[in-house]
């Protein structure tokens, strides 16, 4: 059994943030029903395809069932309303206002099912001056301060290479939904859960906001370095870079010994945490005098033996083939009904008794329409009529 078995989630989502939210619920066993317009959601037309199936769509929608409904038709809205009566959770990421126009806003569905947990994930949230604006990960990274603290110290702007605002909004959404379900257990009531890319990205600036409030400084990008600790960054070896985090006196001493420069630990310039942070450039120059003389592999072996946290800077082919990645089941093989064998990332949180799993591929467009309508009590004849008139 998976932990969310028996939980039904209606997924009216597009692109990344909200599909990632419901994907995490599907991994944990929820019955996630992806509702798409007859043409399919935009991601189905993504530029990267296998056998005519969009890679990005398959990635974000694994483990879900697929239902096609035209919400511009009253019969289509009726199907979603009937579905909502059977559901625990409803997730959408329309621009605020659009759900109301379609008749699938919280106000439309809550009277039909007062136990429904309704989650909206948008660029800026359902209220506030920018609520109607469209938002993308890049824009949220820019407006949250995340972009301003990423990149080279004096270089052009750089964003977080992975879309952290989208991903975090999806995870905060899942957290809100699961908390709302706990509330429902005690009260019997559903509610409206509302989060956004901008707020998710701001919530990720914990250290940076704190640094600003505590010191008055404006946090800057620091390449690979840490804003409150040193040495904690990428260091140069003879054949490239590797990472080292040696932010305590004990780890710093172990690092100095491991690189054959034990005297650095006694150097008054680097005598305590504050001094090492203040003298980071000089410190790193001294350390790299030693590390630049040998290969990454040499240093990683020595540092691992010395118990100093360190690691390679893997490319994705390296990261995805790493023995630890495979041992933790972070790469999963699936067979998609159209694309054939495909790979997917695994579940990053392991539950001992009722583990989640990635065991079903993304649905074909409308793959489960008949099955779901039958579950809802639509007769074959009704389904034929709906199909003939283009509602499904």
């Amino acid at each position: 059994m998976k932990p969310l078995q028996g939980l039904r989630v209606i997924d009216l989502t597009q692109a990344m943030a909200a599909p990632f939210c419901t994907m995490n619920l599907a991994d944990m066993g929820a019955d996630v029903i992806k509702v798409e317009p007859p043409a399919g959601e935009d991601m189905r037309r993504g530029s990267t395809q296998k056998n005519g199936h969009s890679a990005t769509f398959m990635t974000m929608n694994r483990g879900k069932r697929g239902l096609v409904v035209d919400l511009k038709r009253p019969e289509g809205v009726e199907i979603v309303h009937r579905l909502a009566k059977t559901a625990d959770v409803f997730v959408q990421n329309y621009r605020p206002g659009a759900a109301r126009r379609l008749g699938v806003a919280y106000e439309d569905l809550a009277p039909l099912n007062p136990r429904l947990v309704y989650c909206a994930i948008s660029g800026f949230g359902a209220t506030g001056p920018y609520a109607p604006r469209g938002g993308y990960d890049l824009i949220a990274q820019g407006m949250s301060g995340v972009l301003s603290v990423t990149g080279d110290e004096d270089g052009p702007p750089a964003k977080a290479g992975v879309p952290v605002s989208d991903l975090a909004a999806g995870l905060f959404g899942a957290y809100g939904i699961l908390c709302a379900l706990e509330y429902r257990e005690r009260t019997g009531e559903g509610q409206f859960v509302d989060t956004s890319l901008l707020e998710a990205a701001m919530a990720l600036t914990v250290w940076e906001s704190t640094e600003h409030w505590a010191t008055g400084r404006t946090p800057k990008p620091l390449g690979s370095a840490h804003r409150l600790a040193a040495p904690y960054q990428a260091l140069r070896a003879s054949d490239g870079y590797f990472t080292v985090g040696a932010n305590t006196d004990k780890l710093f001493g172990a690092l100095c010994d491991a690189i054959g420069r034990p005297e650095l630990a006694q150097d008054p310039r680097f005598g305590d945490r504050a001094a090492r942070l203040a003298q980071r450039a000089a410190l790193v120059a001294e350390i790299e005098k030693a590390t630049a003389g040998e290969t990454r592999a040499h240093w990683l072996t020595r540092l691992d033996a010395a118990g100093v946290p360190s690691g390679p800077i893997n490319s994705y082919p390296e990261a995805l083939a790493d023995p630890h990645t495979l041992a933790r089941n972070m790469v999963v093989d699936l067979v998609h009904p159209g694309a054939g064998p495909v790979k997917a990332l695994g579940v990053p949180v392991k539950l001992s008794d009722t583990p989640g799993a990635v065991d079903r591929p993304a649905p074909l467009l409308g793959q489960h329409t008949a099955e779901i309508l039958t579950e809802l009590g639509y007769s074959d004849e009704e389904q034929r009529r709906l199909r003939a008139s283009g509602v499904i």
Partner: protein
Amino acid sequence: MTALEGVRVIDQTQVMAGPFCSMLLADMGADVIKVEPPDGEYTRRELPLAPGVSASFLAVNRNKRGMTLDLKQPEGVAVLKRLVATADVLVENYRPGVAQRLGVDWETLRAINPRLVYCSISGFGQTGPYAARGGFDLVAQGMSGIMSATGAEGGAPVKIGVPITDLGAGLFGVVGILCALRARRVSGRGQLVDTSLFEAGLALSAWEATQYWYTGEVPRGLGTAHRLNAPYQAFRASDGHFTVGAANDNLFPRFVSLLGLPHLTSDPRFATPRARLQNRAELQTLVEEVTVREPRAHWLRRCEAAGVPAGPIYSVPEAHADPHAQARGMVAEMEHPVLGPVKALGNPVKMSKSPPRLRTVAPALGADTDAILEDLGYGPAEIAALRKKGVL
């Protein structure tokens, strides 16, 4: 009523990933008891604001109660076990092996309380070849591939400026804990929830893994650009950069029209999403020839009027001051007994019936030790004896 009222969480965590996880539970009303060694956890010595008050500690320990306990003494472990008998959840982020040495590991504690959900957040997880290694955010960003996809192409290594694998592991931990609490309603049993910085880093790499698996291309740092869409990046204005996402066939014509470059939609180099991605550098050159002539504010106004998602690149203080961030409660003020008003980031999730709340600032060291012990049935003489032995 809050969503997690009545849920008791024992928080044996340090620094960021674990404290962030349990803070999210505390924001939703859980009774989170932070258990620290008698000299306080590591973070209490960072960014001091007053004697014994650390800005970093305040940032991720709000809404918690605090007690001290020396787990290296058998009497300390005995107290913890009595506390465990009353708890629903325990969160720890020791290196794998440390909890066993202290005698507070999952196998030991589940025997005391079979309903306990025990969450371990570590660098690499409890199993697999790297399980025993210490892991920091930097190391996990390097090994998961994230650093290889962040920064400018060909530059020195750059990490995401915020500690995304710490934060991601905290979020996946929360999802795992809430799923395990849900499973407990059916099974009556708790379980082990095991996640890591490394796996969080991989799980946040959904697009990058997809790009590699489906195209064979190795994802690289692209500055601010998107790996699958263009234009979606920062552009230079006369007074700095701003962000724009206008990749799809609906937004691209609007964007080039407002730039006075409507002919680009019929230029074969930019006519389709795929062509725009392939010719991103040329497109950037043409766009910036126009955008450098006017300031950021001019282009942001024009983009907003045209419905093209765009935004400024804020520093952290600018992000805090933005009226939308303020309207959404993302910057809050809390009352600290020593410092008076202190700032805190709001919770990014809004809920209509059981909203997360900022109730109390992080506890002073051992602030609630006596109250918690009395609650467990310890008498004043016993508490005094424990204190005398240095257990508290």
